[in-house]
């Protein structure tokens, strides 16, 4: 590594430090939740390393407890992961000159927070040839913190008394994760509609209620976006 590469790597890592306060409790909660959903410690460690997508993991675990079919769990995780498709589209021009291995590594390690920091700092056209090192530095800090926190949850979670209802912390962390996604009125309406439908559909077979609620939410969001753009056009 050249000095410039190390310097970019370090800058990225330092930018991730303030974000640790969010990812550490979330990782511990995910670790506890995986084990209490019935995964063995080995499977939980495997999920943490292989999946590395906290929101999708927390979305699937209640379905695992409810013995939902595999395809419902896959579909639910996919819906939650759709935001990564946006990130991927935004990041593609930044990384297009990198090798196959680099692009695979940076894809695996992409997390919401570093994506936001990175896109705020660099433009795709920036001449800086080391911006991927910055992305890697920040992402590695988040990855390490997430894996360590998950390990703590997996192996020390059993020490926490059941009466504390730590599994409820999983729902609370989803509330915190949801907030930055509610960026305009249409998406707020989409979320409210999905929440309403999820209550009506909670008893539906195979746990497809969540998917139905999501589809209804997206439909409402698109309708609201279309209405408000028509109004702006008139005004």
């Amino acid at each position: 590594m050249t000095r410039d590469q190390i310097s970019s790597l370090r800058d990225g890592a330092l930018a991730a430090v303030p974000l640790l306060i969010g990812i550490v409790p979330w990782g511990i909660v995910a670790g506890v939740a995986m084990v209490s959903a019935g995964l063995t410690k080995g499977q939980a460690v495997g999920m943490s390393l292989i999946v590395f997508a906290g929101t999708a993991q927390l979305a699937v675990l209640p379905l695992l407890i409810a013995k939902a079919p595999l395809w419902v769990m896959y579909a639910t995780a996919l819906v939650v992961n759709l935001r990564y498709v946006i990130y991927s589209a935004v990041l593609a021009p930044y990384f297009e000159r990198l090798s196959w291995a680099w692009r695979a590594l940076l894809s695996y390690i992409t997390v919401d927070q570093i994506f936001a920091v990175f896109v705020g700092k660099y433009q795709p056209s920036d001449a800086d040839p080391h911006k991927h090192w910055y992305f890697l530095g920040g992402s590695l800090v988040m990855w390490s913190a997430w894996q360590t926190a998950s390990l703590v949850g997996i192996f020390a979670g059993a020490l926490i008394p059941h009466e504390w209802s730590l599994e409820f912390a999983a729902a609370l962390s989803l509330i915190a994760i949801l907030m930055p996604l509610l960026f305009d009125r249409a998406v707020v309406c989409a979320a409210l509609a999905a929440g309403g439908v999820s209550l009506a559909a909670a008893e539906w077979p195979l746990n497809v209620g969540l998917l139905a609620a999501t589809a209804a939410g997206v439909a409402v969001g698109l309708a609201v976006a279309r209405l408000s753009s028509t109004n702006e056009g008139r005004g």
Binding site: S88, A92, E96, R103, L178, L181, V187, S198, T214, G217
Partner: protein, 108 residues
């Protein structure tokens, strides 16, 4: 749960998480998302997360319970307020858990 089932789940989720993150980065070309597709991709995760949260808060012992005596609902609503005001995962979890304990204590 069967061991193979857990690993099929884990590997499938891993593939999904990788492919959604790699779908534009790996080809490396200038593919553009149509605006409607981008909207759907932006609304779906928020809608799905909300649809996970709401039943977790509103159902107790399998029955709908919209009342001030439902500790999860009260704690969840307070957590929404904390999350909106602070954007902090730590404060949201800590505040929500505190309210949960408090409501349970008051309800005896």
């Amino acid at each position: 749960m069967e061991d193979w089932f857990a690993w099929v789940l884990i590997v499938g989720l891993g593939l999904g998480a990788f492919l959604t993150r790699a779908v534009f980065v790996m080809p490396g070309s200038h593919l553009r998302l149509p605006p409607t597709a981008e909207r759907v991709l932006r609304y779906a995760p928020a809608a799905a997360i909300m649809a996970i949260i709401v039943p977790e808060l509103a159902f107790t012992h399998g029955a709908l319970s919209v009342s001030i005596e439902n500790p999860r609902l009260v704690a969840g609503l307070v957590a929404f307020g904390i999350a909106a005001a602070t954007r902090s995962i730590l404060l949201t979890i800590a505040g929500g858990m505190l309210v949960l304990a408090l409501v349970r204590f008051l309800a005896g």
